[in-house]
C-alpha cells in the first residue's frame, strides 16, 4: 500500500517538475523574443509609440458620469463624454472661466485660454436679469457615437438621474439651487425645460451668481435613448456601465477591471476633435515603488504624486523624465479641538477645550512649530507655508498682506505663560494641576505627515509640551474625527476652486459636518453668507480678505503648508498643460514623440 501510494506521489512530482521546467523554458524563450527581454525594446514597438500609458493607484469605480465618484473615473469619463461648456482655470486671476462656442463668461487673459471652446455642446447662454433662470442654446451638429443627435432632452433626463435618491449620485449637490430643492424635492417639470431640441432652460428657486449657475448646470449628460429603460435601482449595476456611449475625443476600447482601461481616439468626434494620441492606457499599479520603477524603465509615461525624496534618483536614472507641478490645492494642518469634545458629545454644549480652547494657546502652538523646517526637510521647493484655507493660486481672493506667524519658540513660551501655563517639576507645562500633554493622531501610510509629526513633536517638547504620536488606519481615523473623539490630529484638505468654506468653519456644528475643531465665530458665518449673495465673485473679495485675517488671528487650527502636487512625466509627451483643475485637463491635445526621435 505504501509502495503504490508513494509511487503515485513520486510520479506526480516528476510530472510537476517536468511541467515547471517546460513553463520556465517557455517563459525564457518569450523573454528572448522581446529583444533580449529588454523592457525598452518592447517599448519601441509600434503599440507603445502610439499609446500613452498613465499609471493609476486603483481602478475607476464607474465610467458613468452620474455615479463615477473617484478622480480617476472623472479623468476617464471626461474624455469619453461631451460637456455642455468648456471650463478653464485662469492662472493669472485664479478664477474659473466657462466657455460656450460663441460666448465666454470672462475675457481670456492673454497667454491663457489654451483650451479651445470647440468641445462645448452649448452655442451660447443667457442668464436672466433676476439670476433665477439660465437658458442655453445648444449646437445642432453634435452626435452621440451611435449617430443620434445630442439634444436638450438628454440633459433633462441626466439631471433627473443626478437628482434621483435611489441612484445616489455624489454630484446631487449641483442641483441644490433648482426649483423645488429648497422644499426637499426638485420639481423637474419646472426646474428644467426643453422647449425644443436645442433650447435648455434651468430655473432656480433663488438668485444664483452666473459663474455658479454655469458650474452647476454643466454636469456631463448621458444619452437618454440609451439609458431610458434602465430602472433606478438597477442603474448602478446595469451592464451599460461597461459600454459607455459618449461623443468625446476618446472612446472605451477595453476595460480589464483592476488592470487596465484602454481608450482609443474617437475618429467620429467633433467635440472638439478626435484625441491626438491614438490610444491611452490607464494602468493599475497599486505599489508606489513599482510605479516609480515603471516610470524609470519607460513602461509608463505618467505617474502622479511622486514624493520629493525620490526626485533626484529618478531624474538621475532616466534623463528622459521630468517632474511637473500643478497649482496649490492641497494643504496639511494640525487640528486642535477648540471645544471640549467630551462635553459636546454628552450634552451638546460647547465649552472651551482645557488645552486648546484659547486662541492665544493655539497661536503659541503655531508659533512653536517650525513649518519652514518641515518644508525644507521634506517638500523643499514644492511646499509653501500655509496661513489659511484660501490658496495663493486663487489670486483674486488671496490676502497677500498677511505675514505668516514666524517660528519663535520664545514667543510661544511667553504666550503660554500669559495663559498660565508654567513649567512643572518634570519640565512639562502645567496649569491648575493639568499637564500640557496630548496625543496627536494621524492616518497611516502618509510619509509626509509622519515626517511632519516627528518635527512637531520635537518642537513642542522644546517649549515643554508633551505630544505623543499615534497613527490610525484611515477609516478608523476618519470615523473618530467625525465622532469628535480626537483632541489633536494631523490631516489635510484638498480645496474646491469655488470658495465655500461654511462646511468647514460654520458655527452650527450639526450643519458644518467638517468643522472637526468645533471653531465658532459668527463673523465667519456672516462673511460667507455675504460673499454668497454677490452675483460677481470678485465683488466678494473684501469679505474673503477679512475672512483670512480672522482665521490668521484666531488660529482655529495650525495651517502647515500648501503642497505642490508633483507628477512624473516622460519627455516623449508634448503639448501637456498641467493646471490646478487637473493634471489631465488637456490630455486630448497631448502628443507623443516617436521613440526613434528621443535622444538616448
Amino acid at each position: 500500500m505504501i509502495e503504490t501510494c508513494a509511487d503515485r506521489v513520486s510520479v506526480a512530482f516528476r510530472l510537476a517538475a517536468a511541467l515547471f521546467i517546460v513553463l520556465n523554458m517557455l517563459a525564457f524563450s518569450a523573454c528572448s523574443r522581446n529583444n533580449g527581454g529588454n523592457g525598452k525594446g518592447a517599448k519601441s514597438s509600434a503599440a507603445m509609440d502610439s499609446t500613452l500609458v498613465i499609471a493609476m493607484l486603483g481602478d475607476a469605480d464607474y465610467l458613468n458620469p452620474v455615479i463615477g465618484a473617484t478622480v480617476t473615473s472623472s479623468n476617464i469619463f471626461g474624455l469619453i463624454y461631451p460637456s455642455l461648456l468648456q471650463s478653464e482655470f485662469d492662472t493669472t486671476t485664479g478664477l474659473m472661466n466657462y466657455m460656450a462656442l460663441e460666448k465666454k463668461l470672462r475675457e481670456v487673459t492673454p497667454g491663457q485660454g489654451k483650451k479651445a471652446p470647440k468641445g462645448a455642446l452649448a452655442k451660447s447662454w443667457h442668464m436672466s436679469d433676476d439670476h433665477k433662470s439660465l437658458t442655453y442654446i445648444l449646437r445642432n451638429d453634435a452626435h452621440w457615437d451611435d449617430g443620434k443627435p445630442v439634444v436638450s432632452a438628454d440633459f433633462k433626463f441626466s439631471y433627473q438621474l443626478y437628482g434621483n435618491p435611489v441612484i445616489a449620485s455624489a454630484r446631487q449637490q449641483y442641483l441644490a439651487e433648482l426649483v423645488g430643492a429648497d422644499k426637499g424635492r426638485i420639481d423637474f417639470d419646472k426646474a428644467i425645460e426643453t422647449p425644443n431640441d436645442t433650447t435648455l432652460v434651468f430655473r432656480f428657486y433663488k438668485p444664483v451668481p452666473e459663474h455658479l449657475a454655469l458650474f452647476h448646470t454643466s454636469l456631463t449628460p448621458l444619452p437618454r435613448h440609451r439609458w431610458k429603460d434602465v430602472k433606478a435601482d438597477e442603474f448602478r449595476h446595469s451592464p451599460l456601465n461597461l459600454e459607455p456611449l459618449g461623443a468625446g475625443p476618446y472612446k472605451l476600447k477595453n476595460w480589464q477591471q483592476q488592470q487596465e482601461i484602454v481608450l482609443v481616439s474617437n475618429r467620429k468626434s467633433n467635440l472638439p476633435k478626435p484625441g491626438t494620441i491614438p490610444a491611452i492606457s490607464f494602468k493599475v499599479v497599486p505599489d508606489y515603488t513599482v510605479r516609480l520603477t515603471q516610470l524609470q524603465t519607460g513602461a509608463v509615461d505618467v505617474v502622479e504624486n511622486i514624493k520629493p525624496e525620490d526626485f533626484t534618483a529618478l531624474l538621475k536614472a532616466n534623463h528622459q523624465l521630468e517632474i511637473k507641478t500643478v497649482g496649490l490645492r492641497v494643504y496639511d494642518y494640525v487640528g486642535w479641538s477648540n471645544i471640549d469634545q467630551d462635553e459636546y458629545r454628552k450634552s451638546g454644549t460647547c465649552k472651551p477645550h482645557p488645552l486648546f480652547g484659547s486662541a492665544r494657546v493655539r497661536l503659541a502652538l503655531t508659533t512653536a512649530i517650525d513649518r519652514q523646517a518641515i518644508i525644507d526637510g521634506y517638500l523643499k521647493q514644492y511646499g509653501v507655508v500655509c496661513n489659511n484655507d484660501i490658496s495663493p493660486s486663487l489670486k483674486w481672493a488671496y490676502n497677500n498682506r498677511i505675514t505668516p506667524h514666524a517660528f519663535d519658540a520664545e514667543h510661544a513660551s511667553a504666550l503660554l505663560k500669559v495663559e498660565g501655563w508654567l513649567p512643572g517639576p518634570d519640565g512639562i507645562l502645567q496649569k491648575n494641576g493639568r499637564r500640557f500633554s496630548f496625543v496627536l493622531y494621524t492616518n497611516a501610510g502618509n510619509a509626509r505627515r509622519n515626517y511632519a509629526s516627528v518635527i512637531i513633536q520635537q518642537n513642542l517638547r522644546a517649549i515643554g509640551i508633551d505630544c505623543k504620536l499615534d497613527v490610525q488606519e484611515s477609516n478608523v481615523f476618519f470615523e473618530n474625527l467625525q465622532a469628535r473623539k480626537l483632541d489633536a490630529w494631523m490631516a489635510g484638505w484638498s480645496i474646491g476652486l469655488e470658495i465655500d468654506p461654511l462646511d468647514v468653519w460654520g458655527s452650527d456644528l450639526k450643519k458644518s459636518r467638517f468643522n472637526f475643531a468645533g471653531y465658532r465665530n459668527p463673523r465667519i458665518d456672516e462673511l460667507c453668507e455675504l460673499a454668497k449673495q454677490k452675483m460677481d465673485p470678485v465683488g466678494a473679495k473684501p469679505y474673503w480678505l477679512e475672512y483670512q485675517e480672522i482665521l490668521h488671528r484666531d488660529q482655529p487650527i495650525t495651517f502647515l503648508y500648501w503642497i505642490k502636487e508633483t507628477q512624473g512625466f516622460s519627455k516623449r509627451i508634448e503639448g501637456e498643460d498641467l493646471n490646478i483643475s487637473g493634471t489631465f485637463y488637456n490630455v486630448d491635445d497631448w502628443r507623443l514623440r516617436p521613440s526613434a526621435n528621443i535622444a538616448q
Binding site: 508513494a6 517563459a27 523592457g39 507603445m48 449620485s169 477591471q257 497599486p286 520603477t293 524603465t297 513602461a299
Partner: protein
Amino acid sequence: MLIYILKRLLIAVPLIFGVLTLTFFIIRLAPGDPAAFFIQPGISPNVAEQIRAQYGLNDPLPVQYFKWLANVLQGDFGRSFSRAQQPVFDVIAEALPITVIIAGLTLVANFTFGILIGIISAVRQNTFLDRFLTVTALFFYSMPEFWFALMMIILFALKFPVFPVSGLNEIGAESYGPIGFLLDRLWHLVLPVTVLSINGAAGIARYVRGSMLEVIRQDYIRTARAKGLPEHVVIFKHALRNALLPVITLMGSSLPFIFSGALFIEVIFAFPGMGRVTVEAIFARDYPLIIANTFISGSLIVLGNLFADVLYAVADPRIKL
C-alpha cells in the same frame, strides 16, 4: 472512509456557518463605514445616507443578519459595495484564475525545488554542501517576501532590465497571437513566481531534510543497502517515498493558499488576484465581499485539512479513518 468523509463534511457545514456569522458581526462592529468615501465637502450629506439605505445598513443589526441569512441560504451572497455592485462571486471569479495560475506554478516550483534541496542536504548531511544549502535556505526563508520582491525588481528590472515589473501582459500583447500572448503572460510571471517559490521551497527543503534523515536511519534502508542496491535506488525508491509522507500534510495545507492569493506579490506586481480583492474589500468595508472571501477561504481550509487527512490514510495503512 466514505462515512468518515461524509461526517467531516457534515461537521464542516455548521463550522463554516459559524465562521461566517462571526465575520458578519465582527466586520459590522469594527469601526469604519462603507459609505465613508461619500462624506466629504462638496458632496451632499444625503448621499452617504442614500448609499447606506441601498446597502441595507440602516436596519438594526439583527434585521440585517436575518436578511443576510435568508439570502445566503438561497446561495445569494449579495453584491459588492466597492466594485460597481457586481455580484460578489463575479468579482471572485475574475480574480481567482489569476491567483490559481500564480499559486499553481508556485506550488509546483516550491515542492520540486524544496524536495530536491531537502534530499541533497539529507544525503550529504554535515558536508559543506549541506551547510551551504541549509544556510541559503534559512536566508531565503527568513526574508520578507515584499522586500525580496522589491530587490528582485531592482535587480532584474532596473539594473539588468530582463523582466517586466508589473501587470499580466505587455501593452499591445493582443497583437502577438495566442501563442505569443501566452508566452508574454509567462514572461510576466517569472519574477513573481520566482519570489514566491524561493521562499516556499526553502521552507519545504527543511521539512524534507528532516524527514529524510529520519528515514535514512531506518532498518529497511540499511537492509536495502546491505542487499547491494545502488545508492540512487536506495535513496529515490526506498527512502524518498517514505520521507515524502509528511509532505502530503504540507500539500493539504497549501490548498487555501492557491485560492487566497499572495497579497504582497499581487500588490507589488499589480496582479488583480484574490489577495488584493480581500484586502481592498477590508479597507473599503465591502461587507458582502469580505464575507464571500471568508466563505471561500474557510471552506478551503476545512477541505484542505480533510484532503490531507484522507491522503494520509491512503498513503499509510496504519491510519484508520
